[in-house]
């Protein structure tokens, strides 16, 4: 269906295939950066090509370069050729190029905001006509407070007639609770919460969106979704790559800030939340925040028991020799920054009391794989004796998020024959093939949602702070000299032995991915 907001247009009745936002100017602040070139511009081109950007839509790039509009178009064309993953269609490109405008300015300089305002007024008069503006912060996080305040002080955060102003903020959203709170305060000073879209691109993935549909649109699963039937939950966010060219960022962030505080805890919240009263941004985010607030805090030495941090050493990745973390360019030889985290967490709620949630993430693991696995309890009675009893495995419902998106249900089945042997079989549902064709890129989906004003898949201020509250306590312990240091693990392995031992102690094991 088409978006809300066009209720007065009788031609929209029964239009079932498209979600089309109203015309707006999308202002990419930091348009020459990696994020804009690799993700944002290709996603916008695809949205344009698919007809999701209506006539009058404008993309305004902002950067320090002393470029004119033509130079900007050259840069965008190069970015698309490199990162689009498909050939440019000339006529389509010409149409898209028409939406591209550029405003040169250093956003550290207050005068730049005045120039930006002038450029926006001009382009709105020429093309957009709605006054709608979406600011996308595609800049280093350290610049966020200054840029947000700059936009606010120059009146760019407010409504213009019936036009709206929104802001998309990329992760990392703060580096601890204090900085996240300060950033939220800065945002709140100039923008209302419903104008703010904190992006976590994991939430734009089809399978992540399908978690709630799968749970709540199928009556057979929800009755099992609690501590009576679920033994434990594993959430894995594994990367095979190292830190690439991001040593300075990673030395500051580490795995817990890079992956756990945002992606992993967002996945956990979606798996564990109560059903919202309706599927809308407010109620969905209310329920997610309740989960994060119900996370049992880990304090002091409890962290040593429940959290394993690791750091990769030299090893092989797909057979190729790769350096250890401390040997990476830009990393201190004495660095204690973690590249791996595994943890056992509990949610103190009626539904999940006593059910451990195991989270793990790491770099230089054997493969790239993100999944959520719900492991159910074993049958109460080993009914099939002998070998069959030993062969019976627990049912597992695995939701694969990357690289292939899909859902697998593992269940036991009798092997045909005169004896009773039970083998596990996987019932496998993959998005790419089961619904045909290309699932939209996460950025495409989230850009479209932000233009439509749908914040369901974005994190809210209280959600961000609840996640940081939980993570901060772990970081506090790690700052204590009494805390065990990161455990080494060889690049290409599944992490330090201590992570295995944590599971052994619980009589469980990590899933082999």
């Amino acid at each position: 269906m088409s978006s809300a907001g066009f209720a007065g247009n009788p031609l929209r009745a029964g239009m079932r295939l498209r979600r089309t936002p109203p015309p707006a100017t999308l202002v990419i602040l930091g348009v020459t950066g990696d994020l804009a070139r690799r993700k944002l511009l290709p996603s916008l081109y695809r949205l344009y090509a698919q007809g999701h950007l209506p006539a009058g839509s404008t993309v305004m790039g902002v950067a320090r370069r002393d470029w004119d509009r033509d130079a900007f178009r050259v840069m965008v064309r190069e970015a698309l050729k490199r990162f689009l993953g498909a050939p440019l269609q000339e006529l389509m490109w010409e149409g898209f190029a028409d939406t591209l405008h550029f405003c040169s300015g250093d956003l550290v300089d207050p005068a730049a905001y005045g120039q930006l305002e002038e450029a926006l007024v001009r382009v709105d008069g020429e093309r957009t006509h709605t006054g709608n503006r979406l600011f996308y912060l595609a800049m280093p996080p350290s610049t966020y407070p200054g840029v947000i305040a700059g936009l606010g002080r120059h009146g760019l955060a407010g409504r213009r007639g019936s036009g709206w102003a929104r802001i998309v903020v990329e992760k990392p959203f703060g580096r601890d609770l204090a900085s996240a709170h300060a950033l939220n305060q800065t945002l709140a000073e100039w923008f209302h919460e419903d104008q703010v879209f904190r992006i976590d691109h994991y939430l734009g993935k089809e399978t992540v969106q399908n978690i709630l549909v799968f749970r709540l649109a199928n009556a057979i699963f929800e009755p099992l979704w609690n501590n009576r039937y679920v033994d434990h939950v594993q959430i894995t966010v594994a990367e095979e790559i190292g830190i690439e060219q991001r040593a300075s960022y990673y030395e500051e962030a580490g795995a817990i800030r890079d992956m756990i505080q945002n992606h992993a805890l967002q996945l956990l919240a979606l798996v564990a939340m109560e059903p919202p009263i309706i599927f809308a941004a407010g109620p969905v985010r209310d329920e997610k925040v309740k989960v994060l607030m119900a996370l049992r805090p880990l304090r002091g030495p409890e962290v040593d028991e429940a959290v394993v941090r690791g750091q990769y050493t030299a090893g092989l990745s797909h057979g190729e020799a790769v350096p250890g973390y401390r040997d990476e360019e830009g990393v201190s030889p004495e660095s204690t920054r973690e590249t791996y985290v595994a943890m056992r967490v509990f949610i103190d709620s009626w539904r999940w009391a006593g059910v451990p949630f195991y989270l793990r993430t790491g770099k230089r693991l054997p493969k790239r794989a993100t999944e959520i696995a719900i492991q159910f309890k074993r049958p109460p009675l080993p009914l099939f004796g002998g070998e069959a009893a030993a062969e019976t495995e627990a049912n597992v419902l695995a939701m694969h998020i990357q690289p292939d998106e899909g859902i697998t249900l593992k269940f036991g089945s009798k092997v045909p024959g005169s004896t009773v042997h039970v083998h596990s079989v996987n019932m496998d549902f993959r998005y790419g093939s089961s619904f045909g064709g290309v699932t939209p890129d996460a950025y495409e989906r989230l850009l479209l949602d932000s233009l439509l004003g749908d914040s369901t898949l974005f994190t809210r201020a209280d959600g961000v702070e609840a996640a940081w509250t939980f993570v901060d306590a772990i970081l506090d312990r790690w700052n204590d000299p009494a805390a065990p240091p990161p455990r080494p693990y060889q690049a290409g392995s599944w992490g330090p032995e201590e992570a295995e031992r944590m599971m052994d102690a619980d009589h469980r094991e990590w899933r082999r991915l």
């Binding site: 009745a13 089309t20 209506p54 498909a86 389509m92 028409d98 093309r127 006509h129 790419g432 064709g437």
Partner: protein, 447 residues
């Protein structure tokens, strides 16, 4: 015939010829349709298919057991290579009526591509014709195939039963479908040509159908066909929904027209439309200047029907007049103060290589002194479509890719919904009324 399948290129699905022909003197329709990479609708994986066993000729009464045998064979093969069996997916019964071998072959190809999004038990009813010698509908061809994941595992698998009938049995084809329908699944009847709505086969299949999908672009007589369909829509006892792939081809055009009026400043213009001109051309790409524009005529009428029903126009004033090759009529506006709307339908003969179908939709609306013109149309004869608004002190343009949408994707979109499309039904009824106005006999172009 090896009896076992193997990973193959899309172009080589089921290359094995059946052992005997299904109808006297003719080559049989193969089981699972081939999917050429060039025709493929989706660029994504899976790239390969795996034919389970071989397409086999069987007695119709053995269809279930033979299909079961194919699946068991496939499971054994999977186990031998360490896989965990195959997943047999059937979301719907898809019954397709094919008048002749060529249609059956095309239908089979569409079903194979469709299986990625809507795996089905497909039943192709192959009407060989009353004139064929003898009587028969006791045999069938069964086949099954899977798409392969990039890792080579068999994933979405579908199955197909092709039932040829000839002689008097062709009139009883509906009875052959009933025993092979999977219970408790929705049944979709896809009729690629112009159905004989009064025929026994159509009427009886309608009794077990949840959704009828036709394609008015394939009607041999589109004006009559629209009228017949509109009459069917009005039948209160009908227990199935009706959709038209030709309507799906209009989605992008409708979107481009509609979005112009998303701007509240232009919305009022919809109450003051003065003229609508729809130009349309021949479908086929050839140098034959006598081609019929019939398939696109249905689309042009549906566009007019869509706008008329959304905007409250009525076809109660006059019949068609012709000005050169253009047909003109007047429609009553939404209320007495707004005057009438001039509707112009313009069939065109396009040059070879041009993309057929709709050529342009033009509207003039707003202030009579300074009217606004909306043009949505093809850029030259390309697949690209431009929307342009001029007048009233503004100019807006935008471009979209309006390449022809493959049949399997159109069908998949109908199957995504499986429900009634009231806007289509109302547009159809109006389109049929327009087609029936006096003087409109040439709307489908020179035949």
């Amino acid at each position: 015939m090896s009896g076992t399948g193997g990973p193959r290129d899309r172009e080589s699905i089921d290359p094995d010829a059946p052992e005997t022909a299904p109808v006297p003197g003719e080559e049989p329709t193969s089981g699972v349709g081939s999917v050429s990479a060039a025709e493929s609708t989706e660029p994504a994986a899976p790239e390969l298919v795996y034919t389970l066993g071989s397409s086999r000729r069987i007695k119709l009464r053995e269809a279930e057991s033979e299909l079961r045998a194919l699946w068991e064979e496939a499971s054994r093969e999977a186990a031998q290579v360490g896989q965990e069996g195959v997943l047999r997916l059937r979301e719907i019964n898809l019954v397709a009526y094919a008048a002749g071998e060529a249609v059956a072959e095309r239908v089979s190809q569409v079903i194979a591509r469709l299986a990625q999004r809507h795996p089905a038990r497909a039943i192709i009813l192959l009407d060989v014709g009353l004139d064929a010698p003898g009587v028969g509908a006791t045999d069938a061809w069964v086949s099954a195939a899977c798409y392969l994941t990039p890792q080579g595992e068999r994933h979405v698998c579908w199955e197909q039963v092709t039932i040829p009938a000839w002689g008097r049995a062709a009139d009883l084809l509906h009875t052959t479908a009933l025993p092979v329908l999977v219970p408790h699944l929705p049944t979709v009847l896809w009729w690629p040509g112009q159905p004989d709505l009064r025929g026994e086969v159509f009427r009886r299949l309608g009794d077990v159908t949840d959704l009828l999908v036709v394609d008015s672009a394939g009607f041999t007589n589109p004006l009559k066909g629209l009228g017949d369909l509109a009459a069917l829509v009005r039948v209160p006892s009908r227990n199935y929904h009706i959709n038209d792939l030709n309507w799906g081809r209009l989605t992008l055009w409708r979107e481009m027209v509609a979005e112009i009026f998303d701007d509240p400043a232009r919305l009022d213009g919809l109450r003051r439309v003065r003229r609508l001109r729809v130009a349309y051309g021949a479908e086929e790409r050839s140098g034959d200047s006598t081609r019929t524009a019939g398939p696109a005529a249905a689309r042009a009428l549906l566009v007019a029907g869509w706008l008329a029903t959304r905007l409250g126009w009525r076809a109660d004033i006059a019949g068609w007049e012709t000005e050169g090759s253009t047909f003109k009529t007047l429609l009553s506006g939404p209320d007495p103060t707004t005057g009438s709307v001039e509707l112009l339908l313009e069939p065109r003969v396009l040059s070879a290589g041009a993309t057929g179908g709709l050529v342009s939709v033009e509207m003039q609306f707003g202030d009579p002194v300074d009217p606004v013109s909306l043009f949505v149309g093809r850029l030259g004869e390309s697949c690209m479509c431009e929307a342009r608004v001029e007048g009233g002190g503004e100019e807006v343009t935008r471009t979209l890719d309006a390449s022809p949408v493959p049949e399997d994707r159109l069908l998949a979109e109908e199957l995504d919904y499986l429900g009634a499309d009231r806007v289509y039904e109302e547009s159809l009824v109006f389109a049929a009324a327009l087609a029936a106005l006096p003087g409109g006999g040439g709307l489908a172009g020179p035949s």
